[in-house]
């Protein structure tokens, strides 16, 4: 038998059952053997049924009275002995059964088999998410809106309870167990064919790498999304075949580089992550000398980006202070004297921009505050290690803050739920600023600053009409799909941003471009134009109208016209 729970129950019930059977049979036998007296004074014996009936209600303390006739003293003697025997046996048995229901081991076993069944029942493709913390919590919340099925494991039962309370639809099977236990990973479905990817976003690189290796061993076809904090570790993860490595520092560095050299491309990327399609004034980075406080993993990554962008910069090593910490007074929290001294020695009054990039949010805040004290016009960028501190940084009027967790959430969400947008971002990096500016202007002039982004695949499910027309060999161009349903001479507010055919992306396909079955489209649209496009792709008559400029005449009617 595969589940342990029923065996635990049966094994535990051995003694209670044995006690009940023995005590009952002794008293029943006694009741049958001892002679009684009926109402006329004749001697009679209870038969087995009478005895069984009497003992059953005696033992369970229901006590209907003496039956079928009042007992003689010899019977009463036996009964009074039996009351203690059977009642104690009965309570012992019931007590054991109740204790069993509350048993921790049994509960875990039941939860485990329920989880196993739930995962087995998943027929759709799903994503396995390891750990339920701030990062994955937000990720799950976002992904649950896109019909991506998920399975979650976390070591902490409290975290799992919190997840269950969220009551997601469709449900997310969750189980509390050690993620480093390969058996639990297997129960969670790593080896299943429909397990698309595993999301590993713990904070320590060591744990992430270990898990990545384990998952690769268990199922080499599964796609892994792993967080990594350093270049060396990212390289190692790539060599073991991890598909997607999340390095937040690399992301920050490339974004900084992009916003210095090509602000419109930066804007496009941020828009895909939910920013509005307009560069706010406070987001324009100033020219001049940059100071970066902290030369750790983030500092090293930033150096690359800034060097490429051709900016002059100096680093302040934050670590020196932590070495001196034991010498100075220890009760000082963030050693603001030292920070101030260092900032002044690097000429903070003349600098244009300060980046606070240490792993301590408190020090980052102190750096920002002290830099502003000596140079009120300085542009401030800060790193935030935890999402909980977000309001604090907003209150400190930091112009730009990079929340590590938020970056990871956005990136992972894009990778899982909007794969086309993710490819587009990669392709976009090869373009120049002029291209970006033209594109942004075109989008904004057509659809304003808050257009939507959607992805459609040309297949039987999401484009029924187009699929059948294409199968008959008719040609459908991009231009046709853009036409309005009311009037085919007018164009909808719609931009085909990218077309993916056999994994080959085509950026901004023109109106003459013909679509094929299996194409995936990344589209910038509005609520109305999206609805129009969906109708055209799904409905024969709408599609016929936009293709030919006239209504189709179904059935017999077509013979008469």
């Amino acid at each position: 038998m595969e589940s342990l729970s029923s065996w635990i129950v049966i094994r535990r019930l051995r003694w209670p059952f044995l006690v009940i059977v023995l005590t009952f049979s002794i008293s029943i036998l006694g009741m049958v053997l001892i002679p009684g007296q009926d109402d006329q004074g004749n001697v009679y014996h209870l038969n087995f049924f009478d005895a069984f009936y009497f003992v059953s209600y005696m033992a369970s303390t229901i006590g209907f009275g003496e039956s079928p006739y009042a007992f003689t003293y010899s019977q009463k003697l036996w009964v009074s002995f039996n009351i203690y025997l059977t009642v104690i046996g009965w309570f012992y048995g019931i007590g054991m059964i109740v204790a069993l229901i509350q048993d921790e081991v049994l509960h875990r076993e039941l939860a485990r088999s329920a989880f196993r069944r739930a995962v087995k029942g998943l027929k759709e493709p799903f994503v396995l998410i390891l750990g339920y913390n701030n990062t994955t919590k937000e990720l799950i919340r976002k992904l649950s809106k896109t019909n991506v099925r998920m399975v979650v494991i976390d070591r902490d039962q409290q975290a799992i309870n919190a997840l269950i309370l969220e009551n997601y639809q469709p449900s997310i099977p969750a189980y509390s167990g050690d993620v480093l236990d390969s058996e639990i990973l297997e129960i969670a479905g790593v080896r299943k064919k429909n397990c698309l990817s595993v999301v590993i976003l713990f904070e320590t690189d060591e744990k992430n790498t270990k898990l990545a290796l384990m998952c690769k061993y268990l199922n080499k076809h599964v796609e892994l999304i792993v967080r990594s904090g350093s270049m060396q570790n990212s390289d190692f993860l790539k060599t073991i075949g991890v598909e997607h490595v999340e390095n937040p520092f690399k992301v920050i560095s490339s974004r900084l580089h992009l916003s210095l050299t090509a602000p419109h491309l930066w804007l496009l990327e941020m828009w895909i992550h939910g920013h509005i399609l307009k560069i706010k004034r406070r987001e324009i980075l100033p020219l001049g000398h940059y100071i970066i406080y902290g030369y750790g993993r983030m500092g090293k990554a930033l150096e690359k980006g800034l060097k490429k962008a051709g900016v002059t910069y100096t680093f302040i090593d934050a670590r020196e202070t932590s070495l001196n910490r034991s010498l100075s007074e220890q009760n000082e929290l963030c050693r603001e004297d030292e920070i101030e001294e260092k900032l002044l020695s690097e000429n903070i009054q003349k600098a244009a921009l300060i980046i606070a990039g240490t792993r301590d949010d408190l020090i980052n805040l102190a750096v920002i505050a002290l830099a502003k004290k000596h140079n009120p016009d300085i542009y401030t960028i800060s790193r935030e290690n935890e999402m909980n501190g977000m309001h604090m940084f907003q209150a400190a009027r930091v112009q730009r803050h990079y929340v590590l967790e938020q970056i990871i959430i956005d990136k992972t969400y894009n990778y899982l739920a909007m794969p086309l947008a993710n490819i587009f971002i990669k392709m976009m990096y090869r373009q120049n600023e002029a291209w970006g500016e033209v594109l942004v202007d075109r989008i904004v002039s057509k659809m304003g600053e808050r257009p939507m982004l959607c992805e459609i695949e040309i297949n039987k499910e999401s484009a029924y009409a187009a699929y059948h027309k294409l199968q008959k060999g008719l040609s459908i161009t991009m231009g046709m799909l853009k036409r309005k349903r009311e009037d085919h001479t007018l164009e909808n507010n719609l931009i085909f941003l990218m077309l993916l055919r056999d994994n080959q992306p085509v950026i901004l396909p023109d109106n003459e471009y013909e679509i094929k079955i299996g194409d995936k489209l990344l589209i910038i649209c509005e609520e109305e134009s999206k609805e129009d496009l969906e109708y055209i792709l799904e409905n024969y008559y709408e599609l016929y109208y936009v293709m030919n400029g006239k209504e189709s005449q179904p059935g017999l009617l077509s013979y008469f016209s």
Partner: protein, 126 residues
């Protein structure tokens, strides 16, 4: 010597022998079958079933199944007796044969159970 093995073996075989004792006799005459023997057979069968609880092996599962069959047959036999006596108010031949044949079925299950038990014991090398 395995004490658990002795106990369970004792109860399996006792269940079978007691059942046989009740079953033996003319199937139409109830007087040839002792009610005390039926009672003892039921009790010992229940105990034998409890001894088979929680054995995760394949053989253990089959033993538990045969034992449950014997229990159900014997309890059915006793129920028919009680029903005939109080429900119908008389012991006719039909009820009598039903009681005896039900216990006969239980005897077969007991017999299978003992056979499997002996086979398993012989197979074990320790």
């Amino acid at each position: 010597m395995n004490m658990h093995k002795v106990m369970s073996g004792f109860f399996f075989i006792l269940a079978m022998t007691l059942n046989f004792g009740f079953f033996y006799g003319s199937p139409e005459i109830l007087a040839e079958h002792s009610k005390y023997e039926l009672f003892a057979a039921i009790v010992v069968n229940l105990i034998a079933t409890i001894f088979k609880f929680g054995d995760k092996t394949q053989v253990g599962s089959v033993l538990l199944a045969t034992s449950l069959v014997a229990d159900i047959q014997l309890i059915a036999s006793a129920s028919v007796w009680a029903f005939a006596l109080y429900g119908l108010g008389e012991m006719n031949v039909e009820a009598t044969t039903a009681i005896i044949s039900l216990s006969g079925g239980a005897l077969l299950a007991n017999f299978t159970s003992v056979l499997i038990f002996i086979g398993d014991t012989l197979k074990s090398k320790r």
